[in-house]
Amino acid sequence: MSVLVEKADLSLKYIAHYNKVKETLFEGSPDVLNAQRKKAFQDFVMQGIPTNKNEKYKYTNLHPHFLPNFSFIHQKEAQKTDPNAIFHCDVPQLDSYVKTTTNGWFNESKTEGDLPEGVILESLEKMMKEQPGLVEKYYAKIAKSDTDAMVALNTAFAKDGYFLYVPKNVVCEQPIQLINFLEAPKDSFVTQRNLVVLEQGADVKLILCDHTLNLNRYLCNAVTEIFVGENANLDYYTLQNQHNRTANISSVFVQQERDSVVTSHTSSFHGGLIRNNMEFVLNGENTEANVFGMAFLDKKQHVDNFTQIIHKKPNGRSNQVYKNVLDNEATGAFSGLIHVVRDAQNTNAFQQNNNLLLSDTATMQTKPQLIIDADDVKCSHGATVGQIDEEALFYLRARGINEDKARLMMMNAFMHEVVRKISVEALRDRIDELVERRLNGEVAKCHECAYQCEV
C-alpha cells in the first residue's frame, strides 16, 4: 500500500466514523450547531488530516497520533471523575473559582464561592439549549473550518466544553480555574469546544489546567473561541501536564476590540505531543496582545507552538516571548507570524523565541514570519537556539556550587523571564516551583503522581 493511500485511509477512518455516529452527533444539538457541524464535516473531507506538506504542519507530524483505534465519547456520560481529583491539579491552593471537564464534557458540580452577578460559567451544550441566542452570536465565528482541518474536525464532532460569559464592566477579582481531565476506560479521541465572551470593560483571569488521570492513550482536539470586548481585560493561563501517551492539539482564537488587553501564558510541562495554535486578531484600535509560552521537553516529547498575530487596526501592540528547554531526543518548533495590515499604522510588534538544548540529540525548529503591509510600524523578532553558557556555569562552580545545581540555576534563569510574566502571584510562585521540579528531573505533576511517564 502506498503511503498516499495509507494517509488517505487515515482520514477516511474519521470520515467513516462521522457517518456512522452522525445521528448521535446531531441529536440534542441546536440547529445552528448542527448547521456548522455539517459544513465543517464537508471542510474536513476536503482537507483531511494535515500532513507535513501543509506549511502549518511542517514541523509536526500528526499522523502517528491519529493511528490508534480510538474510542469516541459523543454522549455525556454519568460523571465519574472524583471531585477530589482536582487535587491532582498542581495549583489547588490558588484561591480560585474551580470547575472541571472530563474528556471534553463540562462537569456539573458544586463550587465553593460565587461568581459576580451575571457571570456565566457553564456547559456549552447546556447554554446552547438555554440561551441559544447568546451562543449563536459567537459560535464558529472566528474558528474557521474551511482553512483549518483540525478546527473542521472539532466542529464536526463538537458537543460540549465550557462557556464563560462576563457581562459589561464586570470585574472578576477571583481567578476562574478550569481543570480539564482526560479519564476514559479505553484509548480515546476527545473533542472539546469552548467559548469565552468578555463584554465591554469586563475583566477576568482564567486558569486552565490539562491533566490525564490514567495511562490510556488520548488524542485531544480542542478549539476555544475568545471574544474580548472594548476595553476588556483577559489573562489566560494554560498549564499542560499530561502523560507522554497524550497528543494535545489546542487551537485558541482570540478577537480583540479596541483598547482591550489580553495576556496569554502557556506552560507546557508534560505531554507526548503538544500543538498550541494561538491566533490573535487585533480588531480594534489601541489593543494589546501579550503572548507568552514556555515548554519543557525531554525523552521523545514534541511541542509545537504556532502563533499568528494579526494587527488590523492602528496603535496596536503585540509582544511574544516563547522559550523552550529541550533534552534527550525531544523535538520542538516555534512558528510565529506577525501580520500588520495596511490600516494598522503605528503598530508595535515584538517577537522573541529562545531555546536551550541540553543534549546533542534534541532539535528545535524556529520560524519567524513577518508580513507588513503598513508603513509606520515597529517590528522586531529574534530567535536563538543554544546550549548552557559554559562560562557562566564555570563561574557558578568556581564559587562552590556543584555542577547539577549550577545547571539547574542556569536553566531556571533562562526560563525566569517567562515565569515572571505571570501576574497572579500565587500562580507565579506555584509555577516557579513546578519549573524547578521539572528541571530537576522530578515529575512536575500532582504530589501523588501515580503514573509513569516513561512511555
Binding site: D389, E391, A392, F394, Y395, L396, R397, A398, R399, G400, I401, N402, E403, K405, A406, M409, M410, N412, A413, F414, M415, H416, E417
Partner: protein, 270 residues
C-alpha cells in the same frame, strides 16, 4: 585510641597547612593543542602574598584558570598540590569549597540568576562541605550586609542578576564581596585592579587586606605597581611565555614600573 588517632589527624592537617599552601611543580597546560604554560614552578606558604606580573598573553589568566579548574585548559604535565592534596583531580566546586578562590579578570554576567540567591547557595555549599549548618535567612542577610559594607558595594546590586548591568568597577567589587563571603584560604586575584579608579582600588585593596591572616595566602596578578602599594607582596614573579622567568622581592615591581617589560624580553631573547 579513637581520641588519640583523631588528635593525630588534626595535628597532621595543621602541620600541612603550616608548611605549604600551594605547590606547583613543572606545570604544563595547553588550550586547543597550543601550549601556554611551559613548566611553572611555584610554592606558596600560608600568610604569603605573591604577585605575578608579566606582559599580556604570557599566560597569567591561564594559570589562574587552570588552578580554578576550568575544563578547556588541558594539563599536559606537572602537578599541583593544595593544602597537601592533589588539586588537579578535583572538580572546580570542590576546589572552591576546599578554600581556593579566583577573582575573575572578566566576571561573567548571568541574567536570571539573582545575586542574593547565588551567593547564599555558594555560602551554604561551603558550610555543608565543612560540616556546618546552613545559614538561616536572618544570619545570611546579616553576613551579607556586613561584607557589602566592607567593599562599599551598593545594596541595590544584590537585587539584580549576577553581574548583570554592573559597571566594570562594580563587577570587580562584586568579586571581592564574594571572596569576603566565602573566606577562602587562597585567593587568586586576576587583574582585579584593572579599570578601577583610585578610590575603587583602595576599597578593593582594603577588602583584600581585611581578609588577610597568617593562615591565608594570595596570588595577585597585576600590571601595576599601584595595587602593590596597598597589598604588599612578599614575592614578585614575572611570567613570560608561559614560564616564571624572574622572582624577587617587592622591589621587582617597582623596577618593572620604571623599565617596563622590554628588558625582560631582551634578556630572554625575543
Amino acid at each position: 585510641m579513637l581520641l588519640y588517632s583523631s588528635f593525630e589527624r588534626v595535628g597532621e592537617a595543621f602541620l600541612k597547612r603550616a608548611t605549604i599552601m600551594l605547590k606547583i611543580k613543572n606545570l604544563y597546560a595547553s588550550v586547543d593543542g597550543q601550549e601556554i604554560l611551559k613548566g611553572i614552578n611555584l610554592e606558596i606558604k600560608p600568610g604569603e602574598v605573591h604577585a605575578i606580573m608579566g606582559p599580556n598573553g604570557s599566560g597569567k589568566s591561564t594559570l589562574a584558570n587552570v588552578l580554578a579548574g576550568k575544563q578547556e585548559y588541558e594539563v599536559t604535565a606537572g602537578e599541583v598540590t593544595f593544602l597537601g592534596e592533589n588539586l588537579l583531580d578535583k572538580a572546580p566546586e570542590t576546589r572552591a569549597k576546599d578554600g581556593l578562590f579566583l577573582s575573575f579578570q572578566y566576571p561573567v554576567e548571568i541574567p536570571g540568576v539573582p545575586m542574593a540567591n547565588f551567593i547564599k547557595t555558594a555560602v551554604n555549599e561551603h558550610r555543608v562541605h565543612r560540616g556546618e549548618k546552613e545559614l538561616t535567612a536572618g544570619q545570611f542577610l546579616k553576613l551579607m550586609r556586613e561584607k557589602m559594607e566592607l567593599v562599599e558595594m551598593k545594596t541595590k546590586l544584590t537585587n539584580r542578576s549576577v553581574n548583570e548591568g554592573f559597571s566594570g568597577g562594580e563587577k570587580k567589587k562584586n568579586e571581592i564581596f564574594q571572596m569576603a563571603m566565602l573566606e577562602p584560604k587562597l585567593a587568586i586575584l586576576d587583574e582585579t585592579d584593572s579599570g578601577l579608579d583610585i578610590d575603587a582600588l583602595r576599597t578593593v585593596a582594603n577588602g583584600v587586606n581585611a581578609l588577610k591572616s597568617p593562615e591565608t595566602s594570595s596570588i595577585v596578578i597585576t600590571h601595576y605597581q599601584r595595587l602593590l602599594d596597598y597589598i604588599v607582596p612578599d614575592f614578585v614573579h614575572i611570567l613570560y611565555h608561559g614560564k616564571i622567568v624572574k622572582t624577587a622581592g617587592k622591589e621587582l615591581a617597582l623596577e618593572l614600573e620604571e623599565k617596563g617589560y622590554d628588558w625582560i624580553k631582551s634578556e630572554k631573547g625575543n
